[in-house]
């Protein structure tokens, strides 16, 4: 029965998602988005999808975040919403 | 024989990769490689069509695994026709657009050709595949390459138009993917035929219903059916010439093909029209799409934008025809996939020539164009007649089947919309013709013809004119042979 773990992580995921789209600083969005991806990766690992989790860890939490930060670096941190 | 389905995809893919390498080593080789790849692909498509016509459906197992486990190409006459259409249009466009590629993307033409080939590969794969998920992946290749190509267009507006296209395109593809997921959770399979046999026993399942709706919404977004069309006009009109010429005729048409494929092969007519009874609503939607597209086109001041809205209207034709729920309407839709692709291609070829010569195609820039570019305008006129639906160009004959289908289904509003749309298109194009035919309005009307100097011809290069000529002549040829096409290609597949 991993559903309690699953549920807790899922809740975190949703929190991270909401935080990522509401925070008013794009750099913070980037980091929260990385956290979101990492939580997601955890969730998948719990569900037994190790390959998917591995990929998400390297891509979502890793490279995507780097791209994100690079893009923010080249544009602006400012956002109105 | 049995390698052609693979060769069809692999030849342009390999060509793309080799051009991707040669960009860095010897850029001049890129173009010949690309042409060679497309030639092989076209030849394969032709062979496949012939084989399908003589021997029936072709199955090709990628990696050698039998269908539900492996990925299979299942090519019937419908696929084969669309495949040949795609390869030919892509090949002709590659030839016709050589000069515009050099002009519009001067320092990166090699990479541009690579991405163009990948785009074609995506379209071919979407059309040939018999696997729902494979379709998604190839759809994404197509989308991704078209985002990139459109972003390369107009310096000011291109990237923004492309980014908006990304957002909407991703939603569309994701909806489709979700629909496939809903099907998968109920069936456990991804092969189209397999899924079709499994869901034929669960017609009352609401999961299948939602899957169907999701797939359809996804595909509609991608094909820009009326309320979901907002991305299309900007994306198409700010794209580079070489891209607009191939994206406009093929992208939406291939998506219509996907819709038809899902309707015929996966869900089946019985399910859609007997169990669901959504037909009337969608046909109304299509009716509105046709009229709205036409009216919005009327408001445009730029030729490319106008054509983009005409495409929106044409999509209404095809969706409506497919959803009429009878064979005649479906025949009309499939025939219109072919015809609309050819005529849109001819139009955009002509527009590309105008852009190459005149710079931009705002209406005020088209004055006296018949005198300056008679050949280009000749092709343009033929294509325009086809869009209006003047016989014996091909546009008339698909409209013929569509209207008949509408009569058969009792959808008189749809028939009326088709007719009204013809009239709107007539107005649209004759407005252009007027601008192009009449020189600047002069004051002394009575002596107007006294000071007609013979206009100086500034035609596009031959490499751009010959393709245009070929394609616009094929409008008439396809039109005259539409009876044959219907009898040998479309009807056998629908039965």
């Amino acid at each position: 029965m991993h559903w309690p773990i699953d549920m807790i992580v899922l809740t975190f995921v949703i929190f991270c998602a909401i935080a990522a789209i509401t925070v008013r600083d794009l750099l913070a969005t980037a980091i929260l988005f990385g956290a979101y991806s990492f939580m997601m990766c955890l969730l998948w690992a719990v569900m037994g999808a190790v390959d998917v989790a591995f990929t998400e860890a390297s891509v979502g939490a890793g490279v995507s975040t780097v791209f994100f930060v690079a893009a923010v670096f080249r544009t602006s941190r400012r956002t109105k919403d | 024989m049995n390698t052609y389905p693979a060769l069809l995809i692999v030849a342009p893919l390999l060509a793309a990769l080799f051009t991707g390498i040669f960009v860095w080593i010897e850029e001049r080789l890129c173009y010949p490689i690309a042409v060679l790849g497309m030639l092989i692909s076209s030849f394969s498509a032709y062979k496949i069509l012939m084989a399908v016509l003589s021997a029936g459906v072709i199955h090709y197992r990628h990696a050698g695994w039998a269908p539900p486990m492996g990925i299979e190409y299942r090519i019937d006459t419908l696929n084969a026709m669309v495949l040949l259409l795609i390869t030919l249009i892509a090949l002709i466009n590659l030839v016709a657009s050589y000069k515009t590629i050099l002009v519009e993307t001067p320092d990166r033409s090699g990479s541009f050709i690579t991405i163009y080939l990948l785009f074609v590969v995506g379209l071919l794969g979407v059309t040939a595949t018999g696997d729902l998920f494979n379709l998604y992946v190839l759809l994404e290749i197509t989308s991704l390459t078209s985002y990139a190509q459109i972003g390369l267009g107009d310096k000011d507006r291109g990237p923004l138009a492309s980014l908006n296209y990304v957002f909407i395109g991703v939603i569309g593809a994701s909806f489709y993917l979700l629909g496939v997921g809903y099907l998968y959770i109920k069936t456990g399979s991804l092969n189209m035929m397999d899924v079709a046999t499994i869901i034929s026993t669960m017609h009352d399942s609401n999961t299948v219903l939602v899957a169907f709706i999701l797939c359809m919404i996804g595909v509609w977004i991608k094909m820009a059916l009326f309320p979901l069309h907002v991305w299309l006009p900007n994306a198409y009109s700010y794209a580079p010439t070489a891209v607009a010429r191939v994206v406009a005729p093929l992208m939406t048409k291939v998506m219509v093909y996907v819709m038809v494929r899902l309707m015929i092969t996966v869900f089946g007519f019985d399910y859609i029209f007997s169990t669901l009874d959504l037909s009337a609503a969608v046909v109304w939607l299509a009716t509105i799409a046709i009229l709205a597209g036409g009216l919005m086109a009327l408001a445009q001041k730029d030729l490319k934008k106008m054509l983009a809205y005409i495409i929106v209207s044409e999509i209404g034709y095809m969706v409506g025809g497919a959803w009429l729920g009878n064979t005649t309407g479906m025949t009309g839709t499939i025939l219109h996939i072919l015809n609309d692709a050819v005529m849109t291609f001819a139009l955009f070829l002509a527009v590309g020539n105008m852009i190459y010569v005149c710079g931009h195609v705002g209406f005020d820039n088209l004055k006296g164009l018949f005198g300056r570019m008679p050949w280009t305008m000749g092709g343009f006129v033929l294509a325009a007649f086809s869009i209006i639906g003047v016989p014996p160009t091909c546009g008339f004959f698909s409209k013929w089947y569509l209207v008949l289908g509408a009569f058969e289904a009792g959808a008189y509003h749809f028939a009326a919309a088709l007719i009204i749309s013809s009239l709107i298109c007539a107005i649209l194009f004759f407005r252009i013709f007027e601008i192009g035919f009449f020189p600047e309005p002069s004051d002394g009307d009575d002596h107007a013809h006294a000071h007609h100097e013979p206009a100086v011809m500034v035609e596009a290069p031959v490499s751009m004119l010959v393709p245009l000529g070929l394609v616009s002549l094929s409008l008439i040829i396809v039109g005259l042979y539409s009876g044959t096409i219907v009898n040998t290609i479309i009807l056998p597949m629908l039965q």
């Binding site: - | 639906g389 016989p391 008339f396 009569f407 007027e434 539409s482």
Partner: protein
């Protein structure tokens, strides 16, 4: 009915189409270009003529090209009525080509290559329409004709022709797409065929209201026939150079419209069906209104070509009127009027053009006394006018005679009155022109001054003489036309 399969109809259609590339390539050498035009016209006429004997023997020449849908192919069939129309059109094409050389060069018009090319295209479409074996083919050529004539109508490329071109297209294209196309598709939907047959294609599948609506859609939809209220494109199209007005707007275009209506009435609905629904009288009344109103408007026109245009509108309705009587005599009179009116009216147009070329005058009020300067032209004008009014010795008398007999057959005497009244009106608006031309005094000349001959060029005068003579000849020998119609209708 015996049928011969032959490629001749197709060739007859294609000849002038194939010559277009040559015309375009010879744009720098006008004489070569004109030579080819003649050549194509002559070959076309010979081809048409070569089919005449077979058709007169009651055979039909058929040729099928492409099957679009079952029962709707692109196919040709030459029967009597089509033959009559094709003969007239292809013969007059040669004459008009000659005339247009005189006219276009006389006025030094621009874009002559474009002009002759589209002219050739238009005549191809006309012959195609004449030889169509079903409604689809007819519609195809009808549309081609509409579009091919647009550059001819707007030939001057000025503001006036822009407006006229717009009106021309919106009427012709609007009605054909908006009315004929749905009606045709509905016919196909109901019956599954569009093939013309004397018994009609609806075998009791049509209720009276549906038949009425369809028939009206066809009659108004073929707006080239100029039935009111869809007539106003014709006066507008008179901005075109006169050869265009002459051939296209007195013979080809308008007659294709009328011809289409004739085909629909005789070939699609069938005379019996319409008679049983009593619909003939409806069409006849509409035509009668157009006849009278057209004539009245013609009276008030001062510009010669516009007067001719309104006269054409009214004369076209004679044909529709005759056919709508649904009696053998009426049909005969109506259809024979296609030929008779063609020769009369083209003569009149040629005269108008010749006057314009020679003197630059367009308005009737300026033409007083011109007959003395241009006696040949005015004599031809007189003969043409007789033909249109329907007085002997011209072919027009013949058709009017049959029309009146037709009205008597139906028993509606009031229709006969319409014809008589219209003839009087015709006389009123034509004869004064001739009278004033011969006996009026030119406003700017002194009394008793010797009058110089000021005829237009040779190329302009010869054609109108020929057509005038033929107009008279047709009074004495109308047999070919009558026989063709009898064969075509199976009377």
């Amino acid at each position: 009915m015996e049928q011969i399969i032959s490629i001749k109809p197709l060739l007859a259609v294609l000849v002038s189409l194939c010559v277009i590339p040559i015309l375009v390539s010879a744009s720098k050498q006008p004489n070569v270009r004109e030579g080819w035009t003649f050549c194509a016209g002559t070959i076309k006429f010979i081809l048409v003529l070569s089919m005449l004997p077979a058709v007169l023997q009651g055979k039909q020449i058929v040729f099928s090209l492409f099957e679009i849908a079952p029962g709707a192919a692109l196919a040709f069939r030459v029967d009597g009525i089509g033959m009559l129309f094709a003969l007239v059109a292809s013969f007059l094409y040669i004459i008009t080509s000659m005339y247009s050389i005189g006219y276009m060069r006389g006025l030094d018009e621009h874009g002559q290559t474009r002009f002759v090319s589209f002219f050739a295209l238009a005549i191809s479409a006309t012959i195609g329409a004449a030889f169509s074996s079903n409604l689809l083919t007819l519609y195809v050529f009808y549309e081609i004709l509409s579009l091919a004539t647009y550059p001819l109508v707007t030939h001057h490329q000025d503001a006036k022709s822009r407006v006229s071109g717009r009106r021309y297209l919106s009427f012709i294209l609007g009605t054909s797409i908006g009315l004929v196309l749905p009606a045709m598709l509905y016919c196909y939907h109901v019956t599954g065929t569009l093939e013309f047959s004397t018994a009609g294609i609806f075998a009791g599948q049509l209720s009276k209201p549906a038949a009425t609506v369809l028939l009206l859609m066809f009659v108004f939809g073929f707006a080239k026939a100029g039935i009111m209220p869809f007539h106003s494109w014709l006066p507008a199209a008179m901005v075109a150079p006169t050869p265009v007005s002459a051939l296209l707007h007195a013979v080809a275009v308008v007659k294709v419209g009328v011809f289409s209506i004739v085909r629909v009435i005789t070939g699609i609905f069938g005379v019996e069906l319409l008679a049983s629904f009593n619909l003939g009288i409806v069409i006849a009344s509409i035509a009668a209104v157009t006849i009278l109103v057209g004539s009245c408007i013609a009276l008030s026109q001062d510009e010669l070509k516009r007067r001719l245009a309104f006269s054409t509108i009214s004369q076209l309705s004679y044909i529709v009127f005759g056919v709508a009587l649904l009696t053998p005599k009426g049909l005969l009179g109506g259809i024979v009027h296609i030929g008779m009116h063609a020769f009369g009216k083209i003569t009149l147009f040629f005269c108008a053009g010749a006057i314009y070329v020679a003197t630059g005058k367009k308005y009737i009020s300026q033409m007083d006394g011109l007959g003395k300067k241009m006696p040949i032209t005015y004599t031809a004008l007189f003969i043409g006018a007789l033909g249109v009014i329907g007085l002997p010795p011209s072919g027009g008398f013949f058709s009017k005679w049959y029309l009146i007999l037709g009205t008597l057959e139906t028993g509606h005497q009031i229709l006969m009155l319409v014809l008589l009244l219209s003839s009087f009106l015709n006389a009123f608006y034509f004869l004064p022109i001739v009278y004033k031309g011969f006996f009026g005094t030119p406003p700017d000349t002194q009394e008793g001054e010797p009058v110089k001959m000021e005829e237009a060029s040779f190329c302009c005068v010869v054609p109108l003489v020929i057509t005038a003579i033929i107009s008279i000849v047709l009074f004495f020998w109308p047999d070919v036309f009558v026989d063709l119609i009898k064969v075509g209708l199976g009377i």
